[in-house]
């Protein structure tokens, strides 16, 4: 069963990408606040990556579901729900005219997401390590059941 570590490697790469995207957005908002970036650039930057981020997270979720990692799937569900809600109410894009009003709220959202992905990344890496251990030593599957 060598594909288990491979899946976890894919997960960790995805997770890293999400982490990076969020950090990029957070950075954009901080730059805007410090006047290193004007609202036009910020909105075009963020609006160009936000859908990508949502899609990536969707893929992330579905892959957990497909590969049968229920607990991980459930943990990744709340952000997915948030994303979907934003997208459906058309509030996911940054409104260049009103960006300063939502600046603090948006920054907070990015920060929370950032924290979430960091924690999640820890989980994924642990699982990756465990799966590698499992593959290498082959016989002890207790550790994996620990994490579902």
């Amino acid at each position: 069963m060598a594909w288990e570590p491979i899946i976890w490697i894919i997960f960790s790469v995805l997770n890293l990408a999400l982490l990076g995207l969020n950090f990029y957005q957070f950075l954009g908002f901080s730059d805007l606040e410090a006047d290193y970036l004007n609202p036009y650039e910020l909105s075009s930057r963020i609006n160009s990556v936000i859908v990508l981020e949502y899609l990536l997270h969707g893929v992330f979720c579905i892959m957990f579901l497909v590969t049968g990692h229920w607990v991980m799937f459930l943990v990744s569900l709340p952000p997915a729900y948030y994303n979907l809600k934003q997208y459906l109410s058309k509030q996911h894009l940054v409104d260049v005219t009103e960006v300063f009003r939502v600046l603090n709220a948006e920054k907070k959202v990015r920060l929370v997401k950032l924290g979430f992905y960091v924690v999640f990344f820890g989980l994924v890496i642990t699982r990756l390590a465990l799966s590698v251990v499992f593959v290498v030593f082959g016989d002890d599957d207790e550790a994996i059941h620990w994490f579902g």
């Binding site: 805007l32 606040e33 609202p39």
Partner: protein, 1048 residues
């Protein structure tokens, strides 16, 4: 809703700004003689000018007046009493403790920076006698010289028995450095005064001349008045007024003539209560209900405060800081900046400022222009503050200290001037930037990112069938043509035109042509711009072509039957043409944009959504295209003014965003008909085209460390956290900003604000308009209330409410406004009510006496009123956009319009009637004051409603309206006729219009009981009355009062 009222009650007309006048004699109405007076002087900052002493040190006078009789009988007891309360520096600065009454030095005039702490229990009564005292300042005590001279007392130790008195008299707080020189002179004379003061008034007066002579310095200005008032009091008492209750004394002692009518109207004295013998505080109150033995639970309607004098700006700040910029340009919601976050959180009204950077100075005044050619503009190196009157020069003039960040900057060599002993530069009188709060700097090249742009006007004209039918095109073309000569910026002015229906028409106006060339582009998805260089031309070069175009424009499209309108695509085309230069884009839109990008759909005004969560969406912009477009337009310095004319739904909510984010303005003419509305359109378009405009501007408000402007409200786009991008600004635009504290405790005494507007003038100069103002930091909530400015508060509050209404239900928005007022007044009540046992009264600070009424007017204003049926959605949105940009005075007029009766002056045929008098006689906005025999004008700054009473003489009507005076008034217009009455009325209307040229008031004639016209135009707008489910003023007050009393 009938308006019949054969016997209208007589409302207090002119002085009725102060319904308190009527209440004066009725004890329940409390107010604050002395403290209101203190508004003017309690805040003297440390500074330089000796002029501050002009302020009447009112405290001592009255205290003498009231205290003397009480303490007269046992002199020893008196002196004990006097020594008792130590003159704490804070309280003595505003109202002396009893001791102050006997001091020779009126402490209040001293420049102690402390905040005037409102008096608390235990302090003596300060009676309205302050007024007479102040009044006597003007009259020097020369007459006193005739009083018998006392034997001159030799220098030396006073009689031992006087010791207490002397100590007392010389207790002045430590800050009294200024007086030190005069003190020795006065001392010898003061001991004898004191005993005589108690026993024989004559002698005490007599000492005054010597006293005055002993004051060679500036203090003398303030000093004489004290003895003078004292004298008056004494004289008053001489007949032997017995120590009767306080109020009675007041009346008997003060000759009525001393009250200068205006001053006294607001100041009613608190009745003495058993517990606190006559505490006078600085609040006003209204008796509400629960009058024993009375069934009428209501209020005296006529006694409610009404702003019949229009907007009265608080003067206190300007007096405190004479170098502040005018309140036209900057108005703070309260001039007392809270010293701590906890204090700020108890201030439930918005804290902030209304800024009108280009406010027109009154005739005869001009903003001084300064050009620093050699030194460059002097600015702080750290916070970039511009040099202003509040900076101080140190190090013998080589350094200047920034008033905002306190850093020391070097003075450039060419700007150097010596400073004299008092720290003033010797060349102060040649430096307007160091003496004037408002100044204009000529900006050198480093303030330009590109060469200054020429004034540019671009017209985007909808020529679909409705535009042709309404006659809009003709009026507009004529108006533009008549304005061509007066467009600012000749000879650099640029101009261009695009017309559109389902296709887009470009006009080549090259100066070599005789006639404009029209080019039609029908591909709306990818607009191709033909001849991009010749679409925008220099007006002076192509004048003939432009004239020819405007002449032929109405006839060109008169047979157009196209009903479509491709605004979005035309907008993009105009944007492409203009983006090189920027400028002003005027859009004349007649129908809902129906083709191409940015097409809008009929949405919104569905009666079923009202009251549901979907309701606010109809007021919010729908298509993001317009927002995005607005952002792009702003980026390229293009301002958009929308002129909308449709009789059907046009989605102003979406179109208006174009104006909102580009610093423009929305003009809305519902159901435009050239025959009726042409004057209005002509006037407003002319004003838009010819008023002085500032181009490609940015504005920033700087303020001292510790406070920060966080939110901005108005028509602009934020380019960074505190930089407002304004492609075009003019005097009719104001911006609001909310202030918040960044530090939990402010350590400084004064907060400075500096508004800087960097712009290109029409003449092609880059300039910076700088307004600087200072405001004191206060540690006391009562002080914040006292320094509050209702006009600014309402202006900010209405902007917040309108913004809220875009995302919340109208009902919730109105409740939020009401809640804020309730919280404010409840907090205020908590400050004062307990100690006064004012359970049955509503109390409010004098400065906020109109707040409830304006709050009610705001809830009844077009953007917030009622529900579905009360206003059309487009009118709501248009009014909302307009109110977001209005300066304070115009907003207040819109909220509480003028209502005046004119039949007397129209009928009275003597040619010498003064129109301005009529204008000032404003009436309360209630149907009760409409007389059936009268003729009234209702003026909200945007339109006139002329109301004809039912029993008005037919002659008058015939003279004014013409022969068809019995017909349908919606079809009758008021035009000048050849008779005296008509001319008179026109003169009055012109007078009204002159007072505010920014909009044109179109006359709507309304006859009494001519429903529904009367209800729509007039009765629905009478703020004081109950209308459309909204409260009447009296009910509103009762409701507020009930809510205030809950949870207290």
């Amino acid at each position: 809703m009938g308006t019949e009222n054969p016997n209208p009650p007589s409302y207090p007309v002119r002085p009725a700004a102060t319904p308190f006048a009527a209440m004066q004699s009725t004890p329940p109405f409390l107010s604050s003689g002395p403290v209101a007076g203190s508004e003017s002087s309690s805040f003297r900052p440390v500074p330089p000018a000796s002029s501050q002493f002009r302020a009447p040190p009112f405290s001592s006078g009255p205290v003498v007046g009231s205290e003397v009789p009480a303490f007269r009988p046992p002199p020893s007891g008196r002196s004990n009493e006097l020594v008792g309360p130590p003159p704490s520096s804070s309280s003595s600065s505003s109202h002396g403790p009893p001791a102050a009454g006997f001091q020779r030095f009126p402490t209040p005039s001293l420049p102690s920076v402390g905040h005037a702490v409102p008096q608390r229990t235990g302090q003596p009564v300060l009676s309205p006698t302050t007024r007479p005292a102040a009044g006597t300042v003007a009259s020097p005590p020369i007459s006193l010289l005739s009083q018998p001279q006392p034997p001159s007392i030799p220098m030396g130790s006073p009689p031992p028995s006087m010791k207490t008195g002397q100590v007392n008299g010389n207790i002045p707080p430590p800050a009294h450095q200024l007086l030190s020189s005069s003190r020795p002179n006065v001392q010898p004379s003061s001991p004898p005064v004191r005993p005589s003061y108690v026993t024989t008034p004559g002698i005490s007066q007599a000492t005054i001349p010597g006293y005055v002579n002993a004051q060679p310095n500036t203090v003398a200005q303030a000093q004489p008045m004290q003895p003078a008032s004292f004298t008056l009091q004494q004289r008053g008492y001489a007949p032997g007024a017995p120590p009767t209750p306080f109020l009675a004394q007041q009346r008997s002692v003060n000759p009525p003539s001393l009250y200068s009518g205006n001053q006294m109207q607001h100041h009613v004295v608190a009745p003495p209560t058993a517990t606190s013998p006559g505490l006078a505080e600085d609040f006003s109150s209204l008796s509400l209900g629960s009058v024993p033995g009375s069934f009428n639970a209501g209020i005296d309607n006529a006694a409610l405060p009404r702003p019949l004098d229009g907007d009265v700006e608080p003067k206190s700040l300007a007096e405190m800081y004479p170098m502040n910029c005018s309140s036209r340009s900057l108005r703070l919601t309260t001039s007392g900046i809270p010293s701590s976050m906890s204090l700020a959180s108890r201030w439930h009204l918005p804290l902030g400022a209304i800024v009108c950077p280009l406010a027109e100075p009154p005739a005869g005044e001009e903003v001084p222009i300064v050009n620093f050619v050699t030194t460059g503009i002097i600015r702080c190196k750290r916070c970039r503050t511009y040099v202003n009157p509040f900076v101080s020069f140190t190090d013998n003039g080589r350094k200047w200290k920034c008033n905002i960040c306190s850093i020391l900057n070097d003075v450039p060599g060419d700007y150097f001037a010596h400073v004299d002993a008092s720290g003033r530069r010797v060349d102060l009188d040649q430096r307007p930037e160091l003496t004037q709060g408002t100044i204009e700097f000529i900006a050198p090249a480093e303030y330009m990112v590109r060469p200054p742009m020429p004034p540019l006007y671009f017209f985007l004209i909808d020529v679909s069938i409705s535009a042709v039918k309404s006659g809009m095109i003709e009026v507009m073309a004529q108006t533009i043509k008549s304005c061509l000569d007066s467009l600012p910026g000749y000879p650099r002015t640029q101009i261009g035109f695009i017309t559109y229906d389902s296709t887009i028409h470009f006009y080549n106006m090259k100066s070599s042509l005789m006639q404009p060339q029209m080019m039609v582009v029908s591909d709306l998805d990818d607009v191709f711009i033909p001849l991009p260089d010749d679409l925008l031309v220099n007006l002076s070069e192509s004048r003939n072509v432009v004239d020819a175009f405007l002449d032929s424009l109405p006839s060109m499209f008169q047979d157009n039957t196209n009903v479509e309108s491709a605004l979005g695509s035309a907008l993009k085309a105009a944007f492409t043409v203009m983006r090189q230069l920027g400028g002003k884009l005027l859009i004349f839109q007649n129908t809902l944009p129906s083709l191409g990008v940015g097409r809008l759909r009929l949405r919104g005004d569905d009666i079923r959504v009202y009251g549901t969560d979907k309701e606010p969406a109809s007021r919010a912009p729908e298509d993001p295209f317009y927002k995005q477009m607005a952002a792009d337009l702003t980026k390229y310095q293009i301002a958009v003014n929308i002129y909308a004319f449709s009789d059907k739904y046009t989605d102003i909510a979406s179109l208006g965003t174009l104006a909102k984010y580009t610093g423009g303005q929305v003009y809305y003419y519902p159901s435009f008909q050239a025959s009726i509305h042409k004057d209005k359109l002509r006037h407003e378009l002319t004003r838009d085209l010819t008023r002085e405009t500032a181009w490609e501007a940015v504005m920033r408000i700087r303020c001292s460390k510790g406070v920060r402007f966080t939110n901005y409200h108005g028509n602009f786009m934020l380019r960074s956290t505190d930089l407002l991008a304004l492609p075009a600004v003019d005097c009719d635009k104001a911006y609001a900003a909310q202030l918040s504290l960044e530090e939990t405790l402010l350590t400084m005494q004064t907060v400075y604000f500096q508004v800087a507007l960097l712009y290109t003038s029409s003449s092609g100069e880059r300039r910076i308009r700088v307004h600087t103002a200072a405001a004191p930091v206060v540690a006391d909530l009562g002080e914040m209330y006292r320094l509050a400015d209702t006009g600014a508060i309402i202006s900010l509050l209405s902007r917040l409410a309108i913004e809220k209404s875009l995302s919340h239900k109208l009902e919730d928005t109105r409740n939020a406004v009401q809640l804020r007022i309730v919280k404010t007044l409840r907090e205020y009540r908590n400050l004062y009510a307990v100690q006064h046992r004012l359970s049955g009264k509503m109390i409010y600070p004098e400065s906020l006496k109109f707040l409830p009424l304006y709050g009610l007017a705001l809830c009844k204003s077009l953007p917030l009123r009622g529900g579905y049926a009360d206003a059309q959605i487009d009118e709501r949105c248009a009014a909302g956009y307009t109110m977001m940009a209005l300066p304070v005075k115009k907003l207040l007029k819109l909220l509480y319009p003028n209502l005046v009766r004119v039949d007397y002056s129209v009928v009275n045929l003597s040619p010498q009637t003064d129109e301005s008098n009529i204008i000032r006689k404003r009436l309360p906005l209630t149907a009760d004051c409409l007389d059936t025999r009268g003729l009234y004008i209702f003026d909200d700054g945007f339109r006139f409603i002329i109301w004809f009473g039912r029993s008005i003489s037919p002659d008058v009507v015939r003279n004014l309206v013409g022969e068809d005076f019995t017909g349908d008034y919606s079809k009758v217009s008021l035009s000048p006729r050849d008779n005296e009455m008509s001319r008179k009325l026109m003169k009055i209307l012109d007078k009204f219009r002159e007072s505010d040229p920014s909009y044109y008031q179109l006359c709507h004639l309304v006859r009494q009981a001519d429903q529904p016209r009367e209800g729509f135009f007039l009765l629905g707008n009478l703020v004081d009355d109950q209308n459309g489910g909204a409260n009447s003023y009296a009910d509103w007050i009762l409701q507020l009062h009930r809510q205030i009393q809950q949870n207290t």
